[in-house]
Amino acid sequence: MYLLIGCSLTLALGFLAAFIWSVKSGQMDDDYTPGVRILFEDNPTTDESKKDNQ
């Protein structure tokens, strides 16, 4: 029983740490632009794409 409580608390603390880390790394600073950014197709410029293909 004590072990289980300990486990659950450690797990929860882990999530809290993950949350704090994500805030610190700036994930919460801008929550609009990345959503748009993911929709852009990646069209490399012609000469670069040629190089990539060869």
Binding site: L13, F15, I20, D29, D30, Y32, T45, T46
Partner: protein, 806 residues
């Protein structure tokens, strides 16, 4: 012109503006001006035409190309230091504020900048803040080049002095997120651990578990109490020191009492305490705060008056044009002012044709021409060619800064209107303390053991979290609704101000009349294409507003003008000149003296007659338009408010305006900005809650002193720093609806307050009896908070539909 209609419908491929009668064709696409075509060429060369597929006509019109010299000041080391966030031997990092960013195509293009310019190493857009951060190799690309490139694409960064001393608010926002995270973590775990208690399970389990759970809860509640709720204690303490009781006081008191009593219960083994309620309360409160902050951030705009001044001016030293920050300008310096630049300090005209638009300062909408040796006051904007000036007063002493720095601007809390919440929370706290002490006293006499129990229970259950949440949610939500209809408030608090307004003052120019919307039409014998071109060439020689209007009507900048000989402009009469050997004249009927004479009865109309080869062939009729729906707007606004009109112009239009304005309203003409401020002040002294509606240029002072300053703007990028509200001119007709909606929002706040009071009464009835159980508190608190949040959100939404806001 048989195909005129077809062409007239053509839109510029780049910016979506009407390309006019003579679009530029390039690559099978039509462009309205060479600027737009230039951007297209750059993008096409670099394979960036995806820009046009993401959003239709996403570009920004480049009809008014920016002068290159304008950015020379960016070569100044000192200015660079202020603008650049970080610099080492290889790279520089800089963050720009780009007001013209508006769609997903913009994000795409701005994030593809590195494809255009090899010197750019990394760039990223924050759309909501309209920020672009760029890391670049400053050996390959100078800051000036970077800014020039952005401007040439139509994304001119706003480089203002106010950007330079911008405080960093980022850490503050992150701290709130940490606080929410900690509170949420503790809340969840305390709830989990408290479950056995809720179901009364611990009676069957061992006693020791309940004790360990109690201590665990206390340990979990400690960070909530010490870290997450810290701001409430600080705020309550600060307001107490000022002698004011605000909503933070009962909140902090409730949290404190809750923690102390719960700790006592756990330590003395008498109970499990209210830690779950405590953590839940703080969690919900912080969420409310976060919602509020988010709303601010999305709608934040700069109010700093510094936004108006250009950062640097061109200075003439030893016949060389160099740039200098405005603050370094000294008396006697020779400065160069380009087209559309603002004159930063009072100065004497030395050269160039000065035509100064003082609408900013005096309210006169027509540009004033100045002659050699005359003093030009700060704040005027040059329209036309380049000027050479000698500074006669240093910047800080100038008239404009005096107006801006007047004491009204410095006042933080300028309004006499108190918010509902601040009024209520004062009484709420007093009543709450009375009940708590009465209950304590009552039980002290009857059964002393229950006394402290009842006292703390009252403070815990009545902790006004629902009250604290109702205002931010209701106001924040209606703020969002209003901004969806292009009515932007500076902060949610102004919605309550709007609801209480009983006197509305209108400015005339740009507010109830449309600056750009004046209509023009031609009457008389039809003009051939050749004639049109000839008159266009004639009129584009003059900078008179009417000539400009006609020139715009007849052709566009892309047309090749025919040279005009013997051009003469007779002030107040008209212009004449010889084009292709034919004598052309355009002007008033006195000037032309033709047969198309019309009595100039309607003061809203201006007539310009055309004479071709000494024969009058027709006339242009230019109508200064009032805004659409002016009459119903004024009628609705005037139902229970006093209306007044202030104008910087002559009172020629008084009779015209009389039909719009109700009898009771005042109409004052020839008002200087200072007069306007005085008028608002007198109104306020007479006990009115005054709203000033203006265009924010010449009435900035009045907008600031008013309880609510509304700035009507045709282009949201230009606004007054003094206003509390910025309103898109297109939604002027909805003005009464906005005011009604504000009233409804206040009604919603009151109802939600009653709801939260009901919960409190139920809780209190248990609390005063001294029988409040932790379970009850744990249920009542979130229930009241959630129902208040749901109610305010739904109600503000429904009222928005009712008032046709959305």
């Amino acid at each position: 012109m048989p195909n005129k209609k077809v062409i007239a419908g053509i839109k510029c491929y780049h910016c979506g503006d009407h390309a006019g009668n003579f679009p530029i064709n390039f690559d099978n696409k039509h462009f309205c001006c060479t600027g737009c075509r230039g951007v297209y060429e750059i993008l096409a060369d670099n394979n960036l035409c995806d820009y046009y597929t993401l959003d239709s006509n996403p570009g920004l019109s480049l009809k008014n190309p920016v002068s290159r010299v304008k950015f020379n000041y960016l070569d100044d080391e000192q200015i660079q230091k202020q603008l650049i966030d970080y610099r080492d031997e290889k790279i520089s990092k800089v963050t720009f504020h780009i007001p013209s960013m508006h769609c997903s195509s913009c994000i795409w293009l701005l994030e593809s900048l590195y494809k255009l310019e090899k010197g750019i190493l990394f760039n990223r857009v924050d759309f909501l803040k309209k920020q672009l951060s760029v890391s670049f190799d400053h050996h390959k690309l100078s800051l000036r080049k970077l800014v020039e490139m952005l401007s040439s694409l139509g994304y001119e960064p706003a480089l203002n002095l106010s950007n330079l001393d911008e405080a960093k608010r980022k850490d503050n926002g992150r701290r709130l997120l940490y606080q929410i995270g900690v509170a949420g973590f503790c809340f969840g775990n305390i709830m989990l651990i408290s479950f056995p208690e809720y179901f009364g399970l611990d009676r069957f389990s061992q006693q020791s578990f309940s004790r360990i759970f109690g201590f665990l809860n206390m340990a979990l509640a400690l960070p909530v109490f010490l870290y997450s709720a810290r701001d409430y204690f600080i705020a309550a303490f600060k307001s107490l020191r000022k002698g004011v009781i605000n909503i933070d006081f009962p909140l902090a008191l409730g949290i404190l009492v809750m923690f102390v009593r719960s700790s006592y219960e756990v330590i003395s083994h008498t109970g499990i305490g209210f830690f779950d309620t405590l953590a839940g309360l703080v969690f919900f409160l912080l969420i409310g705060k976060w919602v509020q902050n988010r709303t601010f951030e999305t709608l934040s705009f700069e109010r700093d008056y510094k936004s108006y001044f250009p950062v640097a001016v061109s200075v003439l030293k030893d016949n060389l044009e160099t740039t200098l920050p405005v603050t370094k300008l000294k008396i006697g310096d020779r400065i160069i002012i380009h087209n559309n630049e603002i004159i930063p300090a009072d100065s004497i005209l030395l050269g160039g044709e000065a035509l100064i638009d003082f609408s900013f300062v005096t309210g006169e909408s027509l540009p004033v021409s100045k002659v050699f040796g005359e003093i030009i006051y700060a704040g005027g904007r040059q329209v036309g060619g380049t000027l050479e000036l000698e500074v006669s007063k240093s910047v800080s002493q100038s008239y404009l800064t005096q107006l801006w720095n007047s004491e009204h601007f410095a006042k933080e809390n300028k309004s006499s209107i108190k918010t509902f919440q601040s009024v209520v929370s004062k009484y709420f706290t007093i009543v709450l303390l009375c009940i708590a002490f009465t209950a304590a006293l009552y039980w002290f006499i009857k059964d002393p053991s229950l006394s402290s129990n009842a006292f703390t229970a009252v403070l815990i259950i009545a902790c006004p979290c629902a009250l604290a949440l109702s205002s931010p949610f209701a106001l924040g939500n209606s703020l969002r609704m209003l901004s969806r209809s292009k009515f932007y408030l500076k902060s949610p608090g102004y919605i309550e101000h709007m609801a209480k307004i009983d006197s509305v003052v209108f400015d005339k120019t740009g507010t109830i009349t449309q600056a750009a919307g004046s209509t023009i039409y031609y009457e008389g014998a039809e003009l051939s294409t050749q004639q049109k071109l000839e008159f266009y060439s004639l009129c584009s020689n003059s900078v008179h507003p009417l000539s400009k209007k006609i020139a715009n009507f007849l052709g566009s900048d892309s047309l090749k003008k025919i040279s005009v000989h013997d051009f003469k402009e007779i002030t107040g009469r008209g212009i004449e000149g010889i084009v292709n050997g034919i004598s052309l004249r355009a002007g008033s009927h006195v000037f032309i003296d033709g047969m198309y004479l019309k009595p100039e009865a309607d003061l809203l109309l201006s007539y310009v007659y055309l004479s071709y080869n000494n024969k009058t062939i027709g006339n242009f009729c230019i109508k200064h338009a009032y805004r659409d729906g002016l009459k119903p707007v004024l009628h609705k606004m005037g139902i229970n408010r006093k209306l007044s009109l202030l104008s910087g112009d002559r009172d020629a239009e008084r009779s015209n305006l009389k039909q719009f304005f109700p009898e009771t309203g005042e109409m004052l003409f020839n008002q200087s900005p200072a007069d306007k401020m005085l008028f608002i002040d007198t109104q306020k002294l007479n006990g009115f809650k005054v709203a000033m509606i203006g265009d924010g240029l010449n009435d900035a002072g009045a907008l600031k002193v008013a309880d609510l300053g509304i700035c009507v703007t045709e282009n949201t990028a230009h606004f007054s720093p003094a206003s509390d509200v910025i309103m898109d001119a297109a939604v002027f007709e909805k003005l009464p609806d906005f005011f009604n909606y504000a009233k409804d929002t206040v009604k919603v706040i009151r109802i939600s307050f009653v709801i939260s009071l009901l919960y409190n009464v139920i809780g209190l009835s248990f609390a005063v009896k001294g029988v409040l159980s932790p379970v009850m508190a744990a249920i009542l608190m979130p229930l009241s908070s959630i129902s208040v949040i749901l109610f305010t959100t739904a109600a503000t939404y429904l009222y928005a539909i009712k008032n046709k806001i959305i």
